[in-house]
Amino acid sequence: MKRPVTTKRATPREVKPPRPPKGSARTILLVEDEPILVSLYASVLRKLTEASILTATEEQEALTVINRVVPRLIILDLMIPTTSGMATDFHEPIGFDVLRQVKRNPKTKAIHVIILSNLDADEHRQRAQELGAEEYIVKALLKPRELVERISKYLGTT
């Protein structure tokens, strides 16, 4: 399944105008389609990290941002829709396509990818590991604050 990595959509929107990045250009891309979770995680990340937070709600938008901005870290939901709004398959979630393309592209493969999903079948964990994700976090098992603790080690300056 190949999808061209071309820009089709406008520049990614941001929830708020980003604060000027402190220190290095630390950017986190949050790929999440549930509005309540977008605002929840975006707000806790803004509050507790100094990174600038970008969000994307579907596959193509996410890939566009990734290729343009090359963020330091991607927090990636698995059950996201395609650009056409197609529902994602429980066994083949679209998030894996994003992960595969990030890790395959020499330009983006160094980006840390944290899977943040409410799926937690072993098949999904295993798949994420095979495709090169750095962490697999189940949303419902962590408070937002704990999430930030878990990912903070990927936000270092190196």
Partner: protein, 521 residues
């Protein structure tokens, strides 16, 4: 020659002969001595004659005996042939449950083993009224006859309820009695048109037709129709008996085959039902997985925002409201835990619960749990302690996350069911592994409830009931995890109000790797 002397010869006081003597050659007359000699001799002559007679009788008796033995030998030979035939057929029957093959083999045996021209084996269809030939002896002559038929022999059917179809075969089937005829006509007419019958009659010169009904479970199910080129009086009782035995065997075969095919059908139906159930079961676990995921998503949002509100991330909240929000947060977390429990049970049942072992120290896991739940215990003013043993625990090769879940479950339950006092965790090396006890001073467990504690559901009056707080599910999962590691989990309680101790033991020495965990009941 004149008679000079005559004397009777007695055998058992009966005169059986008279000894007549002529004159002596010397010309002398018989002296007193001579007479005396003859008197002595005559009884001996009598006894000699008697002996000779006896010998003749014995000889005759011997002759007749020889003849009888000969006859008996012949009969035995014949019996032997029929026994061998029957044995061959029986062997055939036990070896195959293919009805067509058995029937054909028997039709052929009538010629090869018994020496008849041929046989037709006919059976009544399931409708109970159509009689259909299922096999005809396969010989050059019968094949020649078959070629004269306008259609395959199996298509000639007799309607048993139609009086116009009456012949010797329908008679045998109706009466259940053996029938004899002197030509083929009585067997194949009126089924086969007259001219064809006479043509066939010229090829197969049948002088005797023997029709034996086949009986199974007290019901006539068909007939063996045997043709012979001999006259009826030349066919022995023994031969008739053999055909009857064949019919009996056929009855048994037919019954066995019917039972077998019923069994096979029942088996197929069961397999089908089983496949269907598997599909349903698969769909069920799939549904639970998807539903759990879908339920978790909004709960994540609710729990996440509540936790931020409670933590003051959105500003100060009035203490009264803060209490409410804390309760809401607890409840939302409880709901997420329940969803997780359902998800795990469904994973265990679907065989998708996977254990990934790596080396770990149980002490670390216990300490993490004490730290994690210490706050919860503090809130209830309970003392939660880990009394480290004197001997160090062996390194275990375990699925760390899953064993952590087991600890969480046991300690969380202990806190939940203890109103005051303490929860104490101890651990010790034991039987080449490590044993952990979680002891509380809580409500305890009724003796009769202990056995059911680790079941997925509590069974009451035949209805599956779930523990209201899902703790049964938690213990079921804990048991599945511990047993999946080759360990044991159990509970001891002195009774209600006397606290309880949950313990588990895990073996050391496993090798790192991944395995799927099968559900246990």
């Amino acid at each position: 020659m004149g008679i000079a002397l005559a004397t009777p010869i007695f055998v058992q006081n009966r005169i059986i002969a008279i000894l007549i003597l002529g004159n002596k050659l010397s010309g002398e007359s018989f002296s007193k001595d001579d007479v005396q000699l003859i008197e002595v001799l005559s009884p001996q002559i009598g006894s000699a004659i008697q002996k000779a007679n006896l010998y003749e009788q014995v000889r005759e008796f011997g002759e007749s005996l020889k003849l009888k033995v000969q006859e008996a030998t012949e009969e035995l030979k014949e019996r032997n042939v029929s026994l061998v035939t029957l044995q061959n057929i029986t062997k055939d029957i036990t070896r195959t449950l293919d009805f067509k093959k058995v029937v054909q083999d028997i039709a052929d045996a009538v010629t090869t083993e018994l020496g008849f021209v041929g046989a037709i084996l006919a059976f009544i269809d399931d409708d109970g009224r159509t009689l259909r030939a299922q096999a005809i002896t396969n010989t050059p002559i019968t094949n020649k006859a078959l070629k004269m038929l306008p259609m395959p022999f199996t298509e000639f059917t007799t309607d048993l309820s139609n009086p116009k179809h009456r012949n010797l075969v329908t008679e045998a089937i109706k009466s259940g009695q053996i029938q004899f005829g002197d030509s083929l006509a009585g067997v194949i007419s009126p089924l086969i048109p007259g001219p064809v019958v006479s043509l066939i009659g010229k090829i197969i010169k049948v002088r005797t037709a023997i029709i034996v009904p086949i009986v199974a479970e007290q019901k006539v199910i068909g007939a063996i129709e045997v043709g012979s080129q001999r006259k009826q009086e030349d066919i022995s009782e023994q031969e008739i008996e053999t055909i009857k035995s064949m019919a009996d065997q056929l009855g048994i075969v037919a019954r066995n085959i019917k039972l077998f095919s019923q069994l096979r059908k029942a088996n197929r139906d069961l397999e089908e039902a089983n496949r269907h159930l598997q599909v349903l079961d698969q769909a069920k676990s799939e549904f639970v997985s998807i539903a759990s995921h879908q339920l978790r998503t909004p709960m994540t949002g609710i729990m996440g925002y509540l936790s931020m509100l409670v933590d003051g991330d959105f500003g100060r909240i009035e203490p009264k409201h803060l209490e409410i929000m804390k309760t809401l947060l607890d409840e939302s977390q409880r709901m997420i835990r329940l969803i997780n429990l359902f998800l795990n049970v469904s994973k265990i049942e679907a065989g998708k619960f996977i254990i990934t072992r790596k080396d770990a120290h149980l002490e670390d896991l216990i300490e993490r749990e004490v730290k994690e739940l210490g706050k919860v215990a503090d809130d209830k003013k309970l003392k939660l302690t880990y009394a480290k043993g004197k001997k160090p625990l062996p390194t275990l090769c375990i699925d760390v996350d899953k064993i952590q879940d087991v600890l969480l479950n046991l300690v969380d339950n202990a806190i939940k069911y203890t109103a005051k006092g303490a929860v104490m965790i101890t651990a010790e090396p034991k039987d080449g592994g490590a044993m952990v006890h979680v002891k509380d001073s809580g409500i305890g467990i009724k003796k009769e409830a202990i056995g059911e504690l680790f079941n997925k559901f509590v069974r009451a009056q035949g209805i599956a009931q779930i523990h209201p707080d899902g703790s049964g599910l938690g213990l079921f999962i804990a048991k599945s995890i511990v047993e999946g590691h080759g360990g044991r989990i159990w509970v001891e309680s002195e009774g209600e109000g006397k606290g309880s101790t949950f313990s588990f033991w895990l073996p050391a020495g496993a090798t790192p790797g991944t395995m799927s965990l099968k559900g246990s009941q």
